[in-house]
């Protein structure tokens, strides 16, 4: 045989065992090599900070509008976190795309051919998504809080301090809510395998439907509705008014976390069972 003397066209490398760390690295490479990741991250930071500052400026009269500022009932915290409510949508959409994208392109077959156990791919996608988004969102939300409060107090408008009761919880809770919904988006993307369908479901069913239901259904339903993902989160973000009776912040945190876990478990079960 000549194989002993000629060099193989494939060279002589020896791959090392596939581990969670290696799959994490693979998923991190996938995430950072898509231009859309960076565009979306910049958009998230801009929306959280710019919208919060603009609404603080408008309300404190630094920017004058024809119709006057927002109604007095909106508290300073809600004002500066105005952009966060928009960022929720962007992050949820990003999550849905992260979850579904490989299924729509067919790339998932290459991925599962490299990691046929599959579950490490799910954990890695979730960890990379969370590790990238949580710091970015948390820093943006905290930054807009302090900047926004300076705008408000500088203009003599009502403001709150970080040390005030429930303020830190609301601000950090908002970051957790945003990223948590993104994680639910990833799970839904993996469940539905279609970017369009999962964007629709995560925005429609998870974000808008509960708000709509709270508005339309009789008050007797509030006891049930307060357990829905977005309503349970409102209990600890305390930044938006849905009119629903809310859980206590602690219970809200537990219920919302349970939704995240449920979504992940659903994705894990489906991912390991279904043909790819």
């Amino acid at each position: 045989m000549t194989s002993l003397t000629t060099t193989s066209p494939l060279g002589s490398i020896e791959g090392r065992p596939t581990s969670l760390v290696r799959v994490l690295n693979s998923e991190w490479i996938k995430m950072r090599t898509l231009r859309s990741t960076w565009i979306t991250l910049v958009a998230i930071v801009l929306v959280i900070i710019a919208f919060g500052l603009i609404s603080a400026m408008v309300s404190s009269g630094r920017i004058s509008t024809q119709g006057g500022g927002p109604p007095r009932s909106v508290g300073p915290l809600s004002l500066v976190l105005a952009g966060a409510n928009l960022a929720v949508l962007i992050v949820a959409v990003m999550g849905a795309i992260v979850g579904a994208r490989e299924f729509s392109t067919g790339m998932i077959r290459a991925t599962f051919s490299a990691v046929p156990k599959r579950l490490p791919v799910l954990w890695s996608k979730l960890i990379v998504f969370t590790a990238v988004l949580l710091p970015i969102v948390a820093v943006s939300v905290v930054a807009v809080f302090f900047l926004g409060m300076r705008v408000l107090s500088g203009a003599g408008a009502a403001s709150v301090a970080w040390s005030d009761d429930g303020v830190a919880r609301s601000v950090l809770g908002t970051a957790f809510y945003i990223v948590g919904l993104g994680i639910i988006g990833v799970a839904i993307g993996i469940l539905l395998r279609s970017t369009a369908a999962s964007i629709g479901v995560v925005i429609g069913a998870v974000i808008f439907l509960p708000a709509l239901a709270s508005a339309l259904l009789p008050d007797s339903w509030d006891e049930v509705l307060k357990y829905l993902p977005s309503n349970s989160a409102t209990a600890f973000t305390g930044s938006s008014q849905t009119g629903a009776t809310l859980l206590t912040p602690g219970t809200g945190l537990i219920v919302f976390t349970a939704w995240i876990v449920l979504a992940i478990v659903g994705a894990a079960v489906v991912l390991t069972r279904r043909d790819a």
């Binding site: 194989s3 066209p9 494939l10 090599t33 077959r109 290459a110 051919s113 046929p116 043909d275």
Partner: protein
């Protein structure tokens, strides 16, 4: 080594693969041949663990592929070439895949060189032609230096240079002792590449045979005779192992006797012959014949009775 044992895969009512059993051995190129819809891709997806068998098993190096410690180093596969993320460059695609077995930039560039994509390494894979995608798919399959290589219709979309390149590559990999399993719906491709053939039709194995054996089997000659006395000749030749058909009064097509024998019988009995020809079907025809019953839709290809 790939072992498929009594494997069945159903999609709803469709039985894509029907209780097939075969082994793909190291050291040779094994062709997986069958018309479109025969179940080749389904079988390969099941070997990879992408699809779950309805029943039966498929193993790579003696165990389910799922159990592999460093999967890409055991089995490298290409299914659909176009199934990559269009927004990512060829190099980044390979970096992401290679990361699962701890290989990096140097290995990736080596593979890009080998498949001839070094010049477009930083271009988005979405803009690649089918041939370029096919090369990227092959690089993806081979990045882990795998002992088993499995490619689904790798020749699709390649130009003649590319076809020659992949043929040589596969033979070289087999010569190194690797297991090489390649599917195609065209016999003409397999003829030059594969040493062993597994022929599949409608989800069933129709032949599991060496290429030599297939050639021998398919070279059962037909003898075509033209004679003004065809009827008399037919009576002289007829026998238990001989089958004779006739499309025109003066023309016979005979199976089961060689041309020299026909000539001798004719001479001994004073039958005038206007033509005596030995016709060996091409491998393509032999393959078509083998799978004829298993093809759902026949094209309008007429048999070419040219004696060459």
């Amino acid at each position: 080594m790939i072992e498929v044992d009594d494997l069945t895969k159903q999609y709803g009512d469709v039985t894509a693969v029907d209780a097939i059993t075969f082994t793909v051995r190291p050291g040779i190129v094994t062709g997986f041949l069958g018309p479109n819809g025969a179940g080749k891709s389904t079988t390969m997806r099941t070997i990879l663990g992408l699809d779950r068998p309805t029943s039966g098993t498929a193993t790579v190096n003696g165990r389910a592929f799922r159990a592999a410690k460093a999967p890409l180093t055991e089995l490298g596969a290409m299914l659909e070439a176009k199934a990559v993320d269009k927004g990512r460059s060829a190099r980044n695609h390979l970096l992401a895949v290679g990361a699962t077995i701890g290989v990096g930039r140097r290995r990736v560039d080596e593979m890009l060189d080998m498949v001839g994509l070094a010049d477009v390494a930083t271009k988005n894979a979405g803009g690649f032609s089918l041939g370029m995608s096919q090369r990227l798919g092959i690089a993806t399959a081979l990045i882990g230096n795998p002992g088993v290589v499995m490619l689904d219709e790798p020749v699709n979309g390649l130009d003649p240079d590319g076809i020659l390149w992949i043929r040589n590559l596969l033979q070289q990999l087999a010569a190194e002792g690797r297991t090489v399993f390649v599917s195609s719906h065209l016999m003409s491709e397999m003829e030059l590449t594969a040493e062993h053939l597994i022929v599949i039709g409608r989800g069933r194995i129709l032949a599991d045979i060496s290429m030599e054996g297939f050639i021998a089997m398919s070279s059962q000659h037909r003898v075509v005779v033209e004679s003004p006395d065809a009827q008399k000749l037919r009576d002289l030749l007829v026998g238990p192992d001989v089958s004779i058909t006739s499309t025109e009064p003066s023309r016979l097509e005979i199976e089961g006797i060689t041309a020299p024998h026909v000539g001798e019988v004719a001479a001994a009995n004073g039958v005038v012959l206007h033509q005596l020809a030995d016709i060996a079907p091409s491998l393509e025809e032999a393959f078509m014949e083998l799978t004829a019953d298993s093809v759902t839709f026949h094209g309008s290809v007429s048999a070419q009775g040219s004696a060459s």
